[in-house]
């Protein structure tokens, strides 16, 4: 049985002025123990909202969320609070996610104070110290205020706080996107090692393909709050079967100069207004491969391969489909020389 099972998750927000933003639309996913599922998508794709919904930091409109068989949405407030020891989160903004008036040691100790109130002062301190060391901080830093730490150290504090109650699931909401490259590498390494030692399950929310390919076992691609394609990392990255996934992957710029940039696959226009979801396939208005059927037929996830699911009714796609449009594009990013 998977650790996390999410079915039919849906959430919309009323927008001041007019309309309703359909942020998350019928999302279903699973995460096994010790597994990392990456949610990738551009801004406004609903990926952070999904993370918060799964932790019930926001209440979903519909759907079920089961962790270890427990249905989160049936829990009372106090039962949910007790459950939080098992599910944790690391946020994108390292400094903003730490109380500026609390010392590092108190920040990391707080989850234990809440979930294991019987712990003695000495035990509490030992656990804090051990957890700080586990994320590469030293015990002296427990006395510091968050302001006195670098961005990377602040994020380590955030990880230590998430980890100290020995959770089973950690939602990582772009944990390295505000960090420098060398610091990002340190944080990724810690996250990777922690997963191996504690068998953690991660929901890794990101827009960055390089970190995703480092951490993730499986990938779900989001567009307009909907999963376009989902499958094992290799399958999705090497054999994407959705025009949106293909466009997203093609936009990635490899720092390896021996890899020439892939041909830019451009979708026309921009992400539509999420107050008015398109009919049929959400990608219809922008898709160069569209057919009339895409608009009329309901858009559903189909099995494309082993554990590989996609929505595009034209899948399996082949490269020639794109060439027709790619060549007529005015922007093609070939580097001279």
């Amino acid at each position: 049985m998977p650790l996390l099972t999410v079915e039919g998750l849906t959430k919309s927000f009323p927008r001041t002025g007019r309309g309703t933003v359909h942020a998350v639309n019928d999302v279903s996913l699973e995460i096994d123990r010790g597994e990392t599922l990456a949610l990738i998508g551009e801004s406004g794709s609903g990926k952070s909202t999904i993370g918060r919904l799964i932790l019930r930091l926001i209440e979903p409109d519909a759907g079920t969320i089961k962790i270890d068989g427990t249905d989160l949405l049936t829990l009372s407030n106090s039962e949910l609070r007790a459950m939080r020891a098992k599910m944790q989160v690391v946020f994108q903004e390292p400094y903003e996610s730490l109380n500026p008036k609390m010392r590092v040691g108190d920040i990391v100790a707080e989850p234990l104070e809440i979930h294991e109130p019987s712990l003695s002062r000495a035990d509490l301190r030992d656990r804090v110290r051990a957890t700080l060391e586990e994320v590469g901080l030293n015990a002296d830093q427990a006395e510091r205020l968050p302001r006195g730490l670098s961005g990377g150290q602040q994020q380590r504090v955030g990880i230590a706080r998430a980890l100290i109650t020995r959770p089973a699931l950690v939602v990582l909401d772009e944990p390295t996107s505000s960090l420098d490259l060398s610091v990002q590498a340190q944080i990724l390494e810690i996250l990777h090692d922690l997963q191996e030692t504690h068998g953690l399950s991660y929901l890794y929310i990101s827009h960055d393909l390089s970190t995703v390919s480092y951490l993730a076992h499986r990938v779900a691609v989001l567009y307009l709050g909907q999963i376009r394609e989902q499958g094992p990392l290799e399958a999705v990255v090497q054999n994407p079967q959705d025009p949106y996934t293909q466009a997203l992957l093609a936009a990635f710029l490899d720092s390896d100069v021996s890899v020439s940039p892939s041909r830019l696959r451009m979708l026309s226009g921009e992400i539509p207004d999420p107050t008015q979801l398109p009919e049929g396939c959400f990608l219809y208005g922008r898709c160069p491969l569209r057919m009339d059927k895409c608009r009329s037929d309901p858009s559903v996830l189909r099995v494309l391969g082993s554990k590989h699911y996609g929505r595009c009714i034209r899948a399996p796609l082949n490269d020639d489909d794109w060439n027709i449009v790619a060549d007529s594009n005015r922007t093609v990013g070939d580097r001279p020389g």
């Binding site: 932790l55 930091l57 609070r81 007790a82 459950m83 939080r84 020891a85 944790q88 989160v89 946020f91 903004e93 903003e96 996610s97 730490l98 109380n99 500026p100 008036k101 609390m102 707080e110 989850p111 809440i114 979930h115 006395e143 955030g158 706080r161 109650t165």
Partner: protein, 283 residues
């Protein structure tokens, strides 16, 4: 234990640093403390409550440093003695206002119909001119010191509530409050451990500001004859007496208590400014 000592040492050091960076806080506090000490302990040349009817409206001299008023009170003695009454009244009134207003403000920042109702009630309440309201209430309830404090509360509690609520509302959106919820903190714990320490700075600054204003309110009440009752000394009463004399050119009756009010208000404002600067520097 050692950790505790270490921490209080740290706090002490931090306090010194604040005083060095914001000298206004130290200066303002010293002035207030000096005025209080003088009011309580400075030996006075004359009794502040027993007039000398033979020596009315004497100009400042070596006998009466600040002169005497139309009743024959020694202005110097009364100006000093007033500090022992007006300042504690102002401080107690303001601190009580904070004590009531801060938790109410935090509560009013929670989501739900409750807080909406509180805030609407507050709107209605605050649409009255509060100082006038306070005077009216004290007049109706009688001329007692407790009522002066109630007047200060009426004016200040809504201010503290609004201030704390607006700070708390923006804090609620912040990532670290979300993080606290995510680790399973109860709403009460979130308020106590995460919101409160982050609003205390603005509350302190507002407290000093409100204390300055309370001095003014006390003076105004006394001036109108509804606060401190004669022959008890109060700056407001003295100014009231002085107003009658100023047309005849007897300036000293009003100038000295007026200056005392000014100095006390300025001292509290210095503290408030310093605290606010410190807040901004931290951000």
């Amino acid at each position: 234990m050692g950790e505790l000592r270490h921490r209080s040492g740290e706090t002490l050091k931090a306090s010194f640093r604040v005083l060095r960076d914001q000298p206004g806080i130290g200066i303002g506090l010293s002035v207030v403390v000096l005025m209080l000490l003088a009011g309580f302990f400075l030996p006075l040349p004359y009794s502040p409550t027993r007039p000398d009817p033979l020596n009315v409206l004497q100009p400042p001299s070596s006998l009466h440093w600040f002169g005497t008023d139309s009743n024959g009170f020694d202005v110097f003695s009364r100006t000093i003695a007033s500090a022992a009454r007006d300042l504690p009244l102002a401080l107690i009134g303001t601190l009580l206002s904070a004590l009531v207003g801060v938790p109410l403000g935090l509560l009013a920042s929670t989501k739900g119909p409750w807080s909406e109702r509180i805030m609407r009630g507050l709107d209605v309440f605050q649409s009255f001119p509060l100082v006038v309201l306070a005077i009216a209430i004290v007049t109706l309830m009688g001329n007692r010191l407790e009522n002066v404090i109630i007047a200060i509360l009426i004016v200040n509690v809504p201010r503290f509530m609004r201030l704390v609520r607006s700070e708390a509302l923006s804090l609620r959106e912040s990532r670290f409050i979300e993080a606290a919820r995510a680790v399973g903190a109860t709403p009460l714990r979130v308020m106590r451990k995460h919101m409160f320490p982050n609003v205390i700075g603005v509350v302190l600054s507002q407290t000093s500001l409100a204390a300055a204003q309370a001095i003014g309110i006390i003076a105004a009440l006394s001036f109108l004859g509804v606060g401190v009752s004669p022959p008890n000394p109060s700056w407001g009463l003295m100014i009231q007496t002085g107003v009658r004399s100023i047309t005849s050119g007897d300036w000293w009756v009003i100038v000295f208590p007026g200056m005392a009010v000014l100095i006390a208000v300025a001292a509290f404002n210095l503290v408030a400014d310093g605290l606010q600067m410190r807040q901004e520097n931290e951000r």
